[in-house]
């Protein structure tokens, strides 16, 4: 399937990809440090294992940044 990840096209060979799986695939070391938005809707942190990423979804990984 093809998704847009952070604005860029990505082809992914995975029949059943969850948000948790995507974060693992993207080697996000600290999933708790990223907010995930799919097609404009923020996914609750507790639903990463239950939320499936589908074809043509726009997925944005928004990192927490505390520095100032």
């Amino acid at each position: 399937m093809e998704i847009r990840l952070n604005g860029e096209s990505r082809f992914i060979e995975a029949p059943h990809l969850t948000v948790a799986g995507l974060l693992e695939m993207e080697q996000v070391m600290s999933p708790e440090m990223v907010a995930v938005q799919i097609d404009g809707e923020i996914v609750h942190r507790c639903a990463y294992h239950d939320t499936v990423v589908g074809d043509s979804n726009q997925v944005d990984l928004l990192y927490f940044m505390a520095g100032g």
Binding site: N6, G7, S30, E32, M33, A35, Q37, G40, I42, H44, R45, D60, L62, Y63, F64, M65, A66, G67, G68
Partner: protein, 273 residues
């Protein structure tokens, strides 16, 4: 309406010829009150540009003193200011740039007991803090008091910012919901930050404050602007206000501010590292 003096006509001449600002906009700036929380990496460029722009009153919040490790990015402070309270050091520089600006130094950290009383004295708030506890505190307090504000965050080569018009546009919580677990937060002192990134993001925040006061242009509302200085890619991620947001949603569960455990971006400080 206030009339500009000859000196002001000269000082602000580059604003006055902008059709989006002009004399009316400059008078609004001169009559405005902006609070800058944190006088560090972000607060430095923010407060310098706001002073230069002729913001009438600038509030500065910080309980820290200048440390030599700050000077790589906190350009409002100099080597001679080491150990001096940051708000005092910054006040001197802002007055030097523009003596007609009034500076209100707040030598303290914002917390649930003082935030509401302080922010209500200002038209706009700029978040230049270095920890999630204060970022969420500012968001909640500004939403509850209906004070517009600019969120800013930096780490390594990255920056992010959004402008929030409470109950009208997405707030910080609509996007980030709640502070991450304290143990997982990478600190600037551990992860590092490019000094110039603070300047890039802080100047965007200063521009947003000026745009809000004057009504020029369109604000960074309902969008998270992020950039990566390694590639210089800038990206706008559209956001929308969540009806289930705990603070600005239809049935809010946060009805007054409360303190979170303050997990600083710096090791020993918790101000504006």
């Amino acid at each position: 309406m206030l009339n500009l003096t000859d000196e002001q006509m000269d000082r602000y001449s580059r604003h006055l010829i902008l059709k989006e600002i002009g004399p009316e906009g400059q008078v609004k700036l001169l009559q405005s009150r902006v609070l800058v929380v944190g006088t560090g990496g972000l607060g430095s460029p923010v407060s310098l540009y706001l002073a230069a722009a002729g913001i009438g009153t600038i509030g500065l919040v910080d309980a820290d003193a200048v440390d030599i490790s700050n000077l790589q990015r906190q350009i409002v402070h100099t080597t001679a200011d080491i150990n001096r309270p940051k708000v005092e050091s910054a006040e001197a520089k802002l007055k030097a740039i523009n003596p007609e600006v009034k500076v209100e130094p707040w030598l303290l950290y914002l917390d649930a007991s003082n935030v509401d009383e302080i922010i209500r004295q200002y038209d706009f708030v700029v978040d230049g803090t270095d920890n999630f506890a204060t970022k969420f505190l500012i968001n909640d307090a500004c939403v509850l008091a209906d004070i517009p504000f600019s969120h800013g965050g930096i780490l390594r080569f990255d920056g992010q910012t959004m402008t929030v018009l409470p109950k009208k546009s997405a707030c910080y919580r609509c996007c980030f919901h709640e502070p991450p677990p304290a143990k997982s937060v990478p600190s600037c002192s551990q992860a590092g930050v490019l000094g110039a990134v603070a300047g890039m993001l802080g100047t965007i925040q200063a521009a947003e404050a000026i745009k809000f006061i004057t009504g020029a242009g369109t604000l960074l509302t309902d969008v998270l602007l992020t950039f990566d200085a390694k590639t210089m890619n800038f990206r706008r991620v559209n956001l929308r206000r969540r009806t289930d947001c705990p603070v600005c949603g239809d049935t809010p569960t946060i009805l007054k501010v409360r303190d979170f455990e303050r997990e600083s971006c710096g090791i020993q400080t918790n101000g504006s590292d």
